[in-house]
């Protein structure tokens, strides 16, 4: 019963919401009519895709000002004009499904003066002038796809884990074949070399020095340890992250 009391009705979007939409449309129209008396400018420029004939790409490209508030089309020679643009500041972009262009901000003053500058959404008042009439140069193809991870032998072999396993294996297998430890001559030689290494007893061990150096401030060592733990456990952490993400 308690459950039922708390089952609340599904609330659906009011049909009247569309009325409000209508209202908005009307006001847009009025605004546009006001704008009609303002100066209307023409934004012009030229778009260029190096190495591609214009006729191959212009039919699918459009010039857009602030979304599709104003639309222009590109001519056979790559030039374009967007007519009837009221004064204001606009972001002009060339939308093409294949080629990528950098957007440009175009400012039109109330007297019809034009200025083109680099688009900066964070510092909007910053002015880095660009030539006007606009020169839109293609900056490359759109990269919509990411490459598949492919399985290559070299990747497998160069994997540190594999290297770590393979090298000791080689040493274990090959070293006894290279020299025979039961050979007395060899044994003597080895002992000599060991003595050589340990000859300088007073010199502190490098590893000891390092531990001392790093353990000096206590807290720091701990943090470092934690960090190392993290790094070592990167795949696990990653898995954890994924798990948490899915839980969300």
């Amino acid at each position: 019963m308690k459950m039922r009391a708390c089952v609340t009705a599904l609330l659906l979007l009011g049909l009247r919401a569309c009325l409000s939409q209508d209202v908005r449309h009307h006001e847009d129209d009025e605004e546009d009519e006001d704008v009609m008396f303002q100066t209307r400018a023409q934004v012009s420029g030229r778009a260029l895709v190096p190495g591609v004939r214009t006729r191959d790409w212009i039919s699918s490209a459009r010039v857009l000002l602030d979304g599709d508030k104003h639309v222009g089309f590109i001519r056979d020679d790559g030039s374009f004009t967007v007519s009837d643009v009221p004064s204001g500041s606009y972001v002009l972009e060339i939308s093409s499904p294949t080629y990528r262009f950098q957007p440009v901000r175009v400012d039109i003053s109330s007297t019809g003066k034009m200025r083109a500058r680099v688009v900066n959404y964070i510092r909007t008042s910053e002015v880095i002038r660009l030539p006007y009439p606009l020169q839109m140069r293609c900056v490359g193809l759109h990269s919509y796809f990411i490459p598949r991870e492919t399985w290559v032998w070299s990747d497998f072999l160069m994997n540190p884990m594999v290297l770590m396993m393979v090298l000791p294996l080689l040493i274990i297998l090959l070293l006894p074949k290279v020299f025979n430890p039961s050979d007395p001559e060899m044994r003597r030689e080895m002992e000599q070399s060991m003595n050589m290494l340990n000859s300088n007893q007073e010199l502190p061990d490098v590893s000891e020095l390092m531990t001392k150096f790093f353990s000096a401030p206590k807290g720091h060592e701990k943090a470092g340890g934690g960090a190392r733990g993290h790094r070592g456990g990167a795949p696990a952490a990653r898995g954890g992250a994924l798990r948490r993400k899915t839980r969300d």
Binding site: T8, A17, W151, K245, T246
Partner: protein, 967 residues
């Protein structure tokens, strides 16, 4: 610091690959269909015989070229919406097409083979009246544009203005048409309604007025609809009141009044109430029009007439005939006439224009779609055959905006459903089980009574297993059979009969409701239209709401959908109930709705036939239930006290909440008034009913849990200020509990204005607005949390929530304009969410919700790292890899629909606007199925390798043991 970067890189790379498309997935589970809209002008390229071009201009401000052999688009230019992009006229000459755009504001010339712009000229403002090509000495060189008060002449090759002249007395005279017969003059025809006609002659070279005269015509109200120019400059008008035709030689000086010819003398009569239409043809703009013309006397009566030596003679009477059109190929002009054959078919025949004689063997049978509308336009493409006879193809446009292209003897070459260019709303419905699947289900259904006993049950079980085996064998046989056939001949035809639910419920039925009143059922996997239904008598300003009342889960009850059609002006609505799988109208009686409907409400209450109950609230706050059986009414009485609904009245800025009473009347519980002088309600959104939230909270860095505020009754109300000044405008958001009317949260974004797009889901609201100070789009996210403790963990009640939620908010810059916004939806809500953003460029961006998290820290700390929070950055990234539709752009995307599939990882997405695009997205990658590129070969080779290695080593070990034993 280094490891921080590494961690960040890892988390970023995770996101990076989160929902990208691989190149080999192109077209695998996605498709796009491109549309153009309702055709206003259509011209066939008759420049060369082999040309396949068909130029179309539509009411969606689209100018496109179609391949007339296949119906595919060669190219398409989408202009801006609204009257500024409206195409007023389309003229074609040679390889070029001249288009007048935006009430005569722009004149554009297109090169039609590649679709490049040749030139564009801005014309003076003024309301557009007519445009015509003007020829001099058999060459078409100019285009003339007539405005309300001026006429201008432009060069066809460069667009440059030759001259522009103001029209005399343009305040009193309505100039409506231009005529040029290739004799060095342009004639402008105007009318003073019910008084006289004005004819002004301009010289082509310099625009000098050569002659101006006015002719008495007291009966005439408009030139455009009732007049035509035939023969060598004879103005011909028809009037239904006096039942007569009037003729006037335009350039003769002596005749100063129109000559009246009674229709009775020709044995003709206009049907009362019908406005007769004259159709003439001018095959070459540099030459005068033909002397033959069509006169339409009633909706299905046409007559071909000839004007000769001041006399009008009937050539052929077409009764009944729906449509008639002229077409010209070379020097020969023909007329195609469509007449009804029987109830379901029409026949189209070709007649020679100059004699009215029928061409033999030219009949095309056009079968009318019983679920479609009547044909209303006929476009004819005539061509000369090798034996010098005239062949033709026709394109028929129907009321429901279907384009059918036919050739002899009635073969449908292609068909386009242009109604789909204007999808209003849509739903996705699960497909039903196949017959065998249903049979298996039936075993456990109602019919399988337990009293059957053990043995019959076993037999049933065995028989159903046998059916399964049979189906499997049939499937295998089909596979084998298809494999033997050459690939090209195997057609993957999708019909309703073969459709059934797949393993993961990835294939669904898309129900699309279009503005023209045509409903479509589309297979989501292939995009094939499985059924269509044209609802006649739909007002053009109707609003639609589609409701799924019964899904396919209740076999043997058929699924049931209800469409509420509401007239926007009167508010009166009607219900249309249909089966979403087959598109058939249901026989269920629907309640009459005599009063305007304000709100609809789909309850989780089901009747004995498993249909959810739909409540309709009218303007007197009375509730109508559908279905309204006794069972339903009983249930409603029991649960009435817990059924709440809300109403929005944006004109008065009023939000009000109501509760249902036992007698299906309502009582007002709360009311919130938002003063309309300051701000107006733009939109109200609740949460989606089919949304699941898997986790109740978020695990924090310190292992405590931050519980989400999951109020299913929460409404997000968006308001905009009435003051649109840049400094004073604002956008407000109010979160209101729909049951109690309590305002949970309120936020205002200053110096901001709409259009606002927003998504309300789970415990968050994401909205986008335009920052008018910095002139950029900004995203803002609101998240609501209960805190570290959950007040009542078993169930949520709006009436018992003493603590207000904690609200977190953050805003970001979005470096692109936005058309629409939607969130992904999955079966159980385990998968992370993405936002789907429709951009004006046509791309659909899949933006991880992780970027819109108000807990993104400005300073990175150990805890925020533990939580995998991305450090705050003001600008939202847009990566091209996140475009789910790669280069398959969706023009003018207006809505995105998301639906869960049977796989938790997968969300089905349909974006619609001018085009329709269907795809799947995997917000957390495909974690529940093997990847597409899963390396079966490697795995199996490793397995086999290991297997053989063990075999061999076993053998070797045996040999070694044996040897050792011998030693």
């Amino acid at each position: 610091m280094a490891w921080l970067v590494v961690r960040l890189a890892i988390s970023m790379s995770l996101l990076y690959t989160a929902s990208a498309v691989f190149e080999d997935q192109v077209g695998k589970f996605d498709w796009r269909q491109q549309f153009i809209g309702k055709v206003r002008f259509a011209l066939f390229d008759t420049h060369s015989q082999a040309s396949k071009k068909l130029l179309l201009a539509t009411d969606k401000n689209v100018f496109a070229s179609l391949n007339s052999r296949t119906g595919d688009l060669f190219w398409r230019h989408v202009d801006k919406t609204g009257p500024e992009g409206h195409i007023d006229a389309l003229l074609m000459y040679g390889q070029d097409a001249v288009v007048v755009v935006g009430n005569g504001r722009l004149l554009r010339s297109w090169e039609t083979t590649v679709g490049g712009l040749k030139w564009e000229t801005v014309l003076d403002t003024g309301s557009f009246q007519a445009a015509a090509l003007v020829g001099v000495q058999d060459f078409v060189k100019y285009v003339a544009v007539l405005k309300k008060s001026a006429i201008s002449l432009h060069d066809l090759s460069s667009g440059s203005e030759i001259w522009v002249e103001n029209l005399p007395d343009s305040d009193s005279v309505q100039y409506q048409t231009i005529y040029s017969g290739g004799n060095g003059l342009v004639l402008v025809l105007g009318v003073v309604p019910n008084s006289h006609i004005v004819i002004v002659e301009y010289k082509i070279e310099d625009g000098e007025i050569m002659n101006k005269k006015s002719v008495e015509a007291a009966w005439m109200s408009s030139l455009e609809s009732s007049c035509a120019v035939v023969s060598s400059g004879i103005l011909l008008c028809v009037d239904q009141i006096t039942q007569s035709l009037y003729t006037l030689p335009l350039q003769s000086a002596e005749q100063t009044e129109m000559r009246q010819i009674h229709l009775q003398t020709l044995d003709l009569e206009v049907v009362s109430g019908f406005r007769p239409v004259l159709t003439s043809t001018q095959p070459n703009p540099a030459q005068p029009p033909l002397s033959e013309f069509f006169l339409q006397l009633s909706p299905d009566h046409h007559i071909l007439l000839q004007f000769k030596d001041g006399l009008i003679a009937p050539l052929r009477d077409f009764n009944p005939a729906y449509l008639a059109a002229f077409a010209t190929s070379g020097e020969r002009t023909v007329a195609a006439v469509m007449s009804p054959k029987n109830d379901t078919a029409c026949s189209i025949n070709l007649f020679s224009a100059d004699t009215g004689r029928r061409h033999l063997d030219t009949t095309i049978i056009y079968h009318m779609d019983p679920n479609g509308g009547k044909p209303n336009r006929l476009y004819v493409h005539a061509f000369l055959k090798k034996d010098d006879s005239v062949g033709y193809r026709v394109m028929v446009q129907t009321e429901d905006l279907a384009l059918t292209f036919l050739q002899q003897p009635g073969r449908v070459v292609w068909m386009r459903e242009e109604a789909l260019a204007d999808v209003v709303t849509m739903e996705m419905v699960d497909l039903p089980f196949t017959g065998t699947q249903a049979e298996l289900e039936g075993e456990f259904g109602k019919k399988a009574a337990i009293q059957d006993g053990l043995l019959p049950m076993v037999l049933k079980r065995l028989s159903s297993q046998f059916i399964l085996l049979q189906a499997w064998l049939a499937h295998l046989w089909k596979l084998f059979y298809d494999a033997r056939k050459p690939r090209s001949s195997v057609k993957n035809e999708v019909t309703i009969d073969v459709l059934s639910r797949d393993e993961f419920n990835l294939q669904k039925m898309m129900l699309m409701v279009t503005a023209s009143g045509k409903l479509f059922g589309i297979d989501s996997k292939s995009g094939t239209i499985l059924w269509k239904q044209y609802l006649e008598n739909i007002q053009p300003n109707s609003v639609f709401k589609l409701i799924v009342q019964r899904t396919t889960a209740h076999f043997p009850h058929p699924p049931q959908c209800t469409l509420l059609i509401k007239n926007k002006d009167t508010g009166l609505g009607s219900l249309y109930v249909f089966n979403p799988i087959f598109g058939k109208k249901s026989q269920i009686s629907v309640p009459a709705l005599p009063r305007p409907i304000l709100q609809t409400l789909l309850l989780p209450v089901i009747d004995q036939d498993y249909a959810k109950v739909l409540l309709l609230i009218d303007d007197q706050y009375k509730v109508t239930a559908f279905p309204s059986t006794k069972n339903v009414l009983q249930q409603l009485q029991d649960t009435a006290s817990s059924i709440f609904f809300y109403l929005v009245d944006s004109s008065q800025g009023k939000l009000s909440g109501f509760r249902l009473r036992k007698d299906l009347s309502t009582e007002l519980i709360w009311e919130v008034v938002i003063p309309t002088e300051v701000q107006k309600i733009v939109a109200v959104k609740g949460k989606r009913a089919n949304e699941h939230v898997h986790s109740q909270g978020r695990v924090m860095g310190d292992r405590s849990v931050l519980y989400k505020y999951l109020n299913p009754n929460l409404l997000a109300v968006i308001t905009e200020s009435t003051d649109t000044h840049q400094e004073r405008s604002f956008v407000g958001i109010i979160l209101i509990d729909g049951v109690t009317g309590r305002i949970v949260h309120e936020a205002v974004q200053r110096k901001a204005r709409g259009p606002v797009h927003f998504v309300h889901s789970e415990n968050w609201v994401v909205y986008v607005y335009w920052n008018s100070k910095f002139r950029r789009n900004e995203f803002s996210v609101l998240e609501l949390f209960e805190g570290a403790e959950l007040y009542n963990s078993t169930v949520f009640s709006s009436l018992d929530r003493p603590h207000p939620p904690q609200v977190l908010q953050q805003s970001y810059i979005f470096p692109a304009p936005i058309n629409t916004l939607e969130a992904t939806l999955t079966e159980k809500g385990i998968t992370s969410r993405h936002l789907l953003v429709g951009l004006p460029s046509g791309n659909i961006l899949s933006l991880p919700k992780l970027f819109l998290d108000p807990r993104r820290p400005e300073m990175v700390s150990e805890q925020s790292r533990e939580e995998n929070l991305i450090p705050y950055a003001p600008e939202m990234p847009i990566r091209e890899e996140w475009f789910i539709n790669y280069n398959q752009t969706v023009s003018r995307v207006r809505g995105i629909y998301t639906a869960p599939s049977g796989l938790e990882s997968t969300c089905l997405v349909v974006a619609y606007g001018l085009d329709i695009y269907q795809s799947r997205v995997f917000p957390s990658k495909q974690f529940d199925v093997l990847k597409d590129d899963y390396d079966y070969i490697l795995i199996s080779s490793v397995l086999f390798g290991l297997f053989f290695a063990t075999m061999i080593s076993k053998r070797l070990a045996e040999v070694k043991l044996l040897n050792r034993a011998w030693r």
